[in-house]
Every structure is written in C-alpha cells, then in structure tokens.
Symmetry: C2
Subunit: 274 residues, 2 copies
C-alpha cells in the first residue's frame, strides 16, 4: 500500500498531529544533492519497523526525495521527510492496516554564526529532563515535547545549544545534536538505548574513530564528569560538528579531535564538515 503524499496541509485525522505517531529525517542538501541520503533512509526504515509501521519500499522514499530536488533546485538547504501513521479514528491504537502519510518539505539552512565550527559553542544544562523509555529510545519520532521545552530553555538563556540529561544526571544529548567527549584519549558518547535520538552523523563519527584506531566507549556520561573532559563536541547532520567552548563554568579553547574528525569525514563524503 503506497503512502498518502501530503501537499502543504494534512487532515486533522492524521496520527502524526493527533499523537506524535510518526518519524522524521532532517537532511542537509549540498550542491543540489543529499549526500547522507542512504544513512537517513536506513535509519528511517529501522524506526518504521520498530514502531510497527507497514514497510515502505525504500524506492518510494528515495523517489520522493529525488522529485523534491528536481522541483526545487535550491542548491543548499534542508530537506525534511516526515512519515506519519496516516489517518485513524479517535483512540491511540494504530489502525491495522494503516496507510502512512509522507511529507517532504524544503527549508533554508538555519542561521548560525560562521565561527561556531572553529571557535566553539556556548552550552548550558537544560533543566528539562529526558524520560527513559526503551521502546522509543534512539528514534527520531514526532513526540518531541521534551526537546521543545529544552530548546525554549536554550533560547531563553541565549546559549548556542543545551545539554539534556536523564533523571540520574547522565548526559544524553543536546536538544538537536548528539554529544561526544574525549576523556583520557578515549572517545566517549552516551548510549541511546533508554533516551535520545541516534543521529546519522553520530554513527559516522563512531565509524571514523574506529577506522583511525581510536578507543571508543559507548557508556553513561555523567554531567559532572563531562565538565572534566579534555574536549567535547556536538554532531548534527545539518550543521556538522560543533566543538564546545563553554559548558557551565568550564571552558575549552582547543578541539583537536573535533577538527580531525571533521577533516576525516569531509573526505568521506560529508563536505560541509571541512
């Protein structure tokens, strides 16, 4: 069953609207192409399976992306793909079968200062906690009210980004980025089996680090321990890698691993990390 394809409006019966019952991907458009498309589509397919959506032929999604790129030839920007569980009656239980709805939208690159990638970003700790929910952890689903509240804190504080923790005080991620720390020469990033979104660029950073022979640990990262890290950086497939210059009272002014990862990944098909 092919998905509905939405124009610029969706019915008020859409379960993405009613219950946050859907997934999305936010992709960087670079010179008129989406270099990380295979990574995004693989994550989306995995998420659809975990949520029990009907499987969508990968070609349906990649064709929709191709059509968007052909229709709007803006060379740089963002392409967003949303898949909801389509229409349902009232009630949380998904209809069986459900006919998904597919939305493709295009956006300009968000505004950010040019020097963030070189000088680093100012971060703080969000008070909004991330709940621990294994069934949905890792997924880029549409139920993002926690990130909305976290992002409102970031805006109110004037930070570039905010780190979000679980109730145990473990750092999980930024409001819109994954987080890496270098601790004693080891690259550490939090596990995302209880909370958080498993970013496409996070996977590429981990693969790169292993390929260059770096020790990598995926483990809990307490906020207090993070403050003592040699280096911290954030990953997001749209903005790339941002080193952290400030976090609470802590300061960093060199980010050698972040620079090295950016150079390495730029050479592996992610040119905006150069």
């Amino acid at each position: 069953m092919n998905p509905h394809e939405a124009g610029d409006r969706v019915p008020v019966t859409d379960r993405g609207l009613l219950y946050g019952d859907g997934l999305f991907e936010t992709m960087r458009v670079w010179q008129g192409t989406v270099p990380l498309l295979p990574d995004h589509l693989a994550r989306l397919a995995s998420g659809l399976a975990r949520l029990g959506f009907q499987s969508l032929q990968p070609s349906i999604l990649s064709d929709a992306v191709s059509r968007s790129l052909a229709e709007d030839s803006t060379a740089e920007g963002v392409l967003k793909l949303i898949v909801t569980r389509g229409d349902g009656g009232r009630g949380y239980a998904p209809p069986v079968p459900a006919r998904s709805r597919l939305l493709v939208t295009r956006h300009p690159l968000p505004a950010w200062r040019d020097d963030l990638s070189s000088k680093g970003v100012r971060c703080g700790r969000c008070q909004t906690l991330l709940g621990r929910s294994p069934a949905t952890a890792g997924l880029k689903h549409l139920s993002r009210i926690e990130q909305v509240l976290g992002a409102a804190e970031v805006a109110a504080a004037g930070w570039d980004e905010g780190l979000m923790c679980d109730e145990a005080g473990q750092v999980i991620e930024g409001t819109r980025a994954n987080v890496f720390a270098v601790v004693g020469g080891v690259l550490v990033t939090p596990a995302l089996d209880q909370s958080g979104v498993a970013g496409v660029l996070r996977e590429r950073v981990l693969s790169w680090a292993k390929r260059v022979g770096m020790d990598v640990e995926i483990r809990p990262l307490a906020y207090d321990a993070l403050m003592m890290a040699d280096e911290i950086f954030l990953s997001n497939s749209v903005f790339g890698l941002w080193p952290v210059a400030e976090l609470g009272e802590a300061r960093w002014d060199t980010f050698p691993l972040c620079v090295k990862a950016g150079e390495g990944l730029a050479g592996e098909g992610i040119p905006w990390l150069a």
Copy 2:
C-alpha cells in the same frame, strides 16, 4: 492574539504535527451538553501555562465548544479540543510570540461492550514503559508515542485495557485511563508528577472519596502490590469507571467501591457513571 481556528486540515508547518507541541482534551457529550467542560478547560489552561503557551481567554475555548454543539446537535458522543503552538519554522524552539491553533472535532462514542461497567474489564501489563519526565508529567500533550505503542499491545493481546509502568515497575496508568486500587480500605492512586496524564475524572473520584470520608493515598503503586489489591478500577471521562475483573493471573468479581463511586459521582453531575 486569538488562535487560528482549523477546519479539517492543518498546514504542515503546524508544531502539533511537527513536534507533538500541543495539548488536547477529550470530552463526553451527554444530552447535547458537555457536563465536565469546566474541569476540562481548567486542566487545559493549566497545561498551556506549564508549556509556556500564550494564555488563551477561557471564553475563546468555551465559545468554540458551544459553536460545535450548536452546529452538530448529536446528543451523545465525544468532543475533542486540540490546541497546538501553531506554525513555526524548522527547529524545536517555539516562536515568540506563537499564535496557537485551535481544533474542535466531534466523534461518536467509542464502541465497548455494555457489560464492562458491571462485569469488569480484562487487563494486562504493557511492556512499553512510560518515561519519567517531570516537565511534561500530568499533561495531556500531543507527544503520545508511548501510549500508541501501549495501545497496540492492548489490541494485539485482546485486552480491554493495559496498565503501563515506569522502569521501576510502578504502575502509572492505563493507556487511556487512570487507575485506582483499594488496599486495606484505603483508596490508592499513583502520583503523576513523573509520568502519566492527570485525568479530569481522577480528580473527581479523589474529591468524592475525601468527601465521603475515605482515606486516600497518592503514592507509588508497584505492579506486584496492585495484584494483591482488594479492588481495582479505571477512570476515564468518556467511558466513566471500569472495574478490573482480570489482571494477569489475578481475578476480582466484586467491586463495591467502584459501584459506590459511580453512584456518588452520577449524582454530582456525571450521569453516565450511573
């Protein structure tokens, strides 16, 4: 700033769709009126304040309900009110100011067997856990992916309802109902300051119990302890009160407090509990 009022479609820029950034109320229509309207509007106003929405004049919401009742005179059914944070650009941070969007929809009463209120319901324990997230706990927000997965479990198992727990094994609620237990003559219901939706009917049950002089405790309720309760019942402002006849291996066949609460509340303006 008055809210947008949606017809049967919303723009794909709506933050309810994009991020689950909104709240809803599901209200029972009885003889062409909404008897619990003040309770629902009070909860909605409290939720809007907690999420940092612009305040909406209560008359805007009650007028929208009145218009719906005038336009569709179906005497029995469900009226659903959704308030989203309206349109925004890409990115989690809410626009400031944000112009809310208001949706009012009408639905038939859900189908359920007539004997559930007298004979009780068959329940099981959902494997999907509810994350603990104080900033959003208690709210009936649109980010309901956990309830969607819980309800899919209920449907697959053929239960009438499923109980959802947090990671500590504390029962929080059903997928679409609050839960009460009678334990040694005390009425117990879980606290909802970490997870769950604070139901309008739950508040009325608690008020009634105090008024009739019953001991009431709002405290953690371990699933294993719940199985030993003298009586369990569920509350939802649409279906009312449902006693629990089966939960896992446990069975109950009399529900004296549930019956008494239903009679008491029916006499206090909730006639469908009779």
